[in-house]
């Protein structure tokens, strides 16, 4: 075949629909506004930039709810911009989670930027751009958009991790996050490139559209099927780094420990959920099982088996490594690795369920899990931030000795968050685990994978039992150890108090009345990407 330098312009009608990206647009406009305010206003404007960011997030939330009510009803678009953007329940639910994470992070950051006299405007605009990146990762129907969203998110987060510029730990954390993040992006990108080539057909070139990838695999018209396996494997590595699954998790504790606590809270809740959104979009919808296609069966079996191994490793390594940690931030970092493992169980369940309604339920379960994890994790980190004081210096386990009765409100709140992370009944974490494990044990799971799913759930339950040791250990340290040194309870400023009240209410509400939220996430079981 000759190299033809002249391409025929592939003129497509431009399928413009700004309503379908309204939440993203609002968040980006708010971010740009914050930048301009930061450039022109006087230095003392952290309430102003924080207020604009919060207003933008609320507006985006309203747009999201409006789209939510319209989604699935007749005449509403299911994809726009020639398949670049997808409008479905999964995207909207994830968008909702990201907005909650960002709003809580902004509230938490108010204290921090004031205490350390950091440039609030820069932080808030970076946070808004990171939020927009996460939302694009969830709404992308094409690998281009997913990659772009991932990079917008990552680049903003690299800067946020190194935000405390004069602190060596923050510098090192940013450098590690940057090098490993860029490294994993390159793997993801190579995977995308090979998938793009592998899906070429004899008649036309490759595709990066996820729905078309699924069609081509199902139709068996892809000419380089072998490359597809390499591409999928490299994409698993790339996404695995982003959501911190076990063999690719080594950056997590270092980065989480060194980054400012607010940023750690954000990184553990937001980008992880965004990683899951994109990971599920690509694999559940891009490489689904189609019984009539041999290639599809092989690819599907390959990625499911790979993820099963990753999930078992992630849960086990995360929890066992957390046992020996002496630093609370590191402990919570390993706990976040373990939670990625639990959520992976729900992801695999979505992959091995053929019934579309049940698959949608499994996906809704993962979104719900990410929501509960975000709420309890942000709450726990808010208290860690308060106890750590300026410069995040007091994060060792011994800094928590005996504070239980000196600052009872904080200690009880932290205990509740830890119990929720452990998964004690009546807390959000319990319901999250139940929902995820239930979809793994659902009768709709394919026969071949029944045993594997049971194994995953058993491993998950054993790991939950292991995790009791370190979660309860911190509670014991707080309440039942004597403190020899002087300690005064930190002042709780209004913005952090609001964060704590919201997260506490969230943990209890999601733990006691989870039905409404889960139903909202699983409403409209049409699976848009699959229908095309």
């Amino acid at each position: 075949m000759l190299i033809n330098p002249i391409f025929a312009l592939q003129a497509l009608p431009v399928d413009v629909n700004f309503a379908s990206i309204a939440p993203e647009l609002i968040v980006i406009i708010a971010g740009v506004l914050v930048m301009l305010v930061d450039a022109f206003a006087a230095p003392k404007q952290r309430w102003l930039t924080g207020g604009i960011s919060l207003a933008g997030i609320v507006a985006a939330g309203v747009a999201c709810v409006l789209m939510w009510n319209d989604a699935g009803t007749g005449g509403v678009v299911t994809s726009s911009f020639n398949g670049m953007i997808v409008v479905d329940q999964m995207r909207l639910s994830f968008t909702f989670v990201f907005l909650i994470v960002s709003a809580l992070t902004i509230l938490m950051s108010m204290l921090w930027v004031e205490r350390e006299a950091l440039p609030a405007g820069e932080f808030h605009s970076l946070l808004m751009f990171a939020t927009a990146g996460m939302m694009l990762m969830a709404s992308g129907g094409d690998l281009v958009i997913i990659f772009l969203g991932l990079e917008v998110l990552s680049i903003a987060t690299y800067v946020m991790a190194g935000f405390r510029r004069n602190d060596l730990r923050s510098n090192e954390s940013a450098l590690k996050y940057f090098i490993l993040g860029a490294f994993s992006s390159a793997f993801l990108l190579y995977g995308i490139a090979l998938t793009y080539g592998a899906t070429s057909t004899a008649l036309e070139g490759g595709t990066t559209n996820i729905a078309v990838i699924a069609d081509r695999i199902a139709a068996g018209t892809a000419i380089y099927p072998q490359l597809l396996f390499a591409g999928a494997a490299l994409m698993i590595i790339g996404f695995g780094f982003k959501i911190a699954t076990a063999p690719f998790h080594v950056w997590t504790p270092d980065v989480y420990e060194g980054a400012p606590t607010v940023v750690t809270a954000f990184m553990a809740a937001g980008p992880k959920a965004a990683g899951f959104a994109a990971f599920m979009r690509v694999f559940v919808f891009g490489f689904p099982l189609v019984a009539t296609s041999a290639l599809s069966i092989q690819v599907h079996a390959a990625w499911i088996n790979a993820l099963v191994v990753l999930a078992i490793l992630t849960m086990t390594i995360g929890n066992t490594a957390a046992l020996v940690q002496k630093n609370v931030k590191r402990m919570l970092a390993y706990s976040s690795i373990a939670h990625a493992g639990y959520a992976l169980v729900g992801f695999i369940a979505a992959g091995v369920t053929l019934d579309i309604t049940k698959q949608n339920d499994a996906i809704a379960g993962v979104v719900f899990y990410m929501l509960t994890y975000a709420v309890m994790n942000l709450g726990a980190f808010a208290i860690v931030m308060l106890i750590a004081r300026g410069g995040d210096r007091r994060t060792e386990l011994e800094d928590y000795t005996g504070i239980g009765f000196k600052a009872p409100a904080l200690a009880f709140a932290l205990s509740l968050f830890l119990l929720s992370l452990l998964g004690v009944p009546l807390t959000a974490g319990f319901i999250g685990k139940v929902v995820v494990f239930r979809s793994a044990l659902d009768p709709a799971v394919m026969n071949d994978y029944r045993n594997v799913m049971t194994l995953l759930v058993v491993v998950g339950v054993i790991n939950t039992a292991i995790s009791a040791y370190y979660y309860l250990g911190l509670i014991v340290v707080m309440f039942f150890r004597e403190r020899t040194t002087e300690w005064r309870a930190p002042r709780v400023p209004a913005s952090v108090a609001v964060t704590l009240i919201l997260t506490l209410a969230g943990v209890l509400y999601l733990g006691v009345f989870p039905g409404k939220v889960i139903d909202a996430f699983r409403r409209n079981a049409i699976n848009v990407s699959r229908l095309r």
């Binding site: 190299i3 592939q10 990659f147 190194g162 510098n171 450098l175 590690k176 080539g197 070139g205």
Partner: protein, 101 residues
């Protein structure tokens, strides 16, 4: 002799592997960063090769996006490296050991 698609793919695979090896073996932050750029560019080569051999523009578009992203990443990465250098006076990643691995 007409160039075959596989030549380009092999070249980019070799480049990617060199990049990966460099990131793992090099100890200087700037060198590691350059190896990452090498990886990104090898991916670009893959995209362009597929795009060119199948007369499909998607790959070329992806390359534009990757180049823009790589530029943004370079700016942020160099900024982080300078901030670290100012505080530590060394670019050796083995010296960046406050956070135990």
């Amino acid at each position: 002799m007409t160039p075959q698609l596989s030549w380009y793919l092999a070249l980019s695979a070799v480049m990617f592997t060199i990049g990966v090896a460099g990131v793992i073996l090099k100890r200087n932050a700037i060198s590691m960063f350059m190896c990452i750029e090498l990886m990104l560019n090898s991916v670009n080569l893959t995209f362009v090769a597929f795009s060119s051999f199948f007369n499909n523009l998607n790959g070329q578009l992806f390359v534009f996006i990757v180049m823009a992203v790589a530029a943004a990443e370079a700016a942020v990465g160099l900024g982080i490296i300078i901030a670290l250098f100012r505080n530590r006076e060394s670019l050796d990643v083995d010296d960046a050991n406050l956070l135990k691995l």
